[in-house]
Symmetry: C2
């Protein structure tokens, strides 16, 4: 959906640069500045520094004199305001409003807008009433009532994020391969191996096992072991038993260096 | 839930101030800096300027030397990373992860953490692998794959927002009173009034009404009129009829100044 960000009477060049960057990371590029404090704000050093690579957004941005010029062709206007007004469009939380705007039900009813503009007032005074009155909705970011003062570029970032998510969102690249969970039979086999090895090293007394093995079973269940981790834990068990059977072997076991803490100093809590 | 924000090796004082402000607007206050570039960063001018009133967060912030010192007592650690890694905790979108963490099902299962820390790496290099490996999850903010470079304080703002929303969120103060929707009978009565007045001013031809009144009915249905607006529209109708009946009255009608456009120049699209 065509999406435009409109900054009205912006004072700080850094916020214009921060806005360009905030838009670009969320895949938006249409920026219009209405009567900014600095006529050359798109080329100021602070702007470019804070834009941090979003120079295309700055290069394509328009500077206009009036709010009306900034809104050509946009069908749905969202004001942003911190302070409630006693008249004007309904005040709504962005996430809820965006969900409604993009809902399949709205789509079916032909109510989904063709294009949207988000309007942001000046850092100091916010939006003027007459500009809010043009709008279909007034977005209020839910902030701590004791300190609601969002930075302008931060507000743009939140709106751009929520709007992008409502439009379907970008995907998160899964970094790690999803590990295959070990089957309960693999966990049980590993635990039998550990039970033997813990007895070998003198930590588990087979005559008075208390609840040690069920405790370890629960711990490993919560951890949702992978097959690879079963393999590691079996290696540890093997090395424990080897360490107990011999004087310490000349080289550590191949699977995993075995340095189990001495069981003597560990005490189990009473079984519950 | 106890929530901590940890900035590791932060270079830019402005980002520390921006982080303090981003946290405070979402109701968080526990900030720890690990080995920042500037030892006096909490008192630098740029920090204080960008914090813009969140000075209590700066005043209560701790500066420590190691990541471990920053994490005392925290039970669930979330790394943040832009670039996927081939090993480490699962990479997850913050909103989905927070929903899972705070879900009633997790609560019932005793899996809801007691406290959470969010870790942010340096502006230039992000988090080091060994710090990511400590964590339970690696948050990846879903950004445009072609330009994923979020500003540090902007990333803090998004995470703080999503986390606050997951915890229940702040409420949006409804600015305007919710208007009572007019009943269908009120709309029908107003439309009868308009039908008469539109005939009076010569815009509606009762012999060839086309679909004018159903069209207006649909328009007003979409607008979801309030009772107050019914009142305004009846005032307009009354003034239209008065204007047609007399030469223009000496003073405009009380309800609303009647200046209807001449019907002569308006043409209806063909009824469909």
């Amino acid at each position: 959906m065509k999406t435009r960000f409109v900054l009205i009477n912006t004072s700080h060049a850094g916020n214009v640069g921060g806005t360009a960057r905030a838009m670009k990371v969320m895949g938006f590029s249409d920026l219009v500045l209405v009567a900014p404090r600095w006529a050359n704000v798109l080329r100021r050093e602070e702007t470019i520094q804070r834009a941090s690579g979003a120079l295309d957004v700055l290069n394509n941005a328009r500077v206009v004199e009036t709010v009306e010029e900034a809104l050509d062709g946009v069908t749905h206007l969202c004001a942003t305001a911190m302070t409630p007004r006693d008249f004007g469009p309904p005040t709504v939380a962005p996430r809820a409003h965006f969900a409604a705007l993009t809902s399949p039900a709205n789509q079916t009813a032909g109510q989904r807008p063709e294009s949207v503009a988000f309007l942001f007032g000046s850092e100091r005074f916010g939006m003027q009433n007459e500009d809010v009155y043009r709008c279909h909705a007034c977005l209020s970011i839910p902030t701590d009532p004791k300190f609601g003062s969002l930075n302008l570029a931060a507000a743009v970032q939140l709106i751009a994020y929520d709007w992008r998510e409502a439009l379907g969102g970008f995907t998160v690249q899964a970094a790690t391969q999803t590990a295959r969970h070990a089957g309960a039979d693999e966990v049980a086999g590993m635990l039998r191996h550990w039970e033997q090895s813990l007895a070998d090293i003198g930590f588990l007394d087979p005559q008075a096992p208390k609840k040690l093995m069920p405790r370890l079973n629960q711990l490993f269940n919560r951890a949702q072991l992978s097959s690879e981790e079963i393999h590691i834990l079996r290696g540890v068990a093997k090395a424990m038993s080897q360490a107990a059977a011999q004087t310490r072997p000349p080289a550590p076991a191949a699977q995993a260096p075995a340095s189990p803490a001495s069981g003597a100093s560990l005490t189990l809590p009473p079984a519950s």
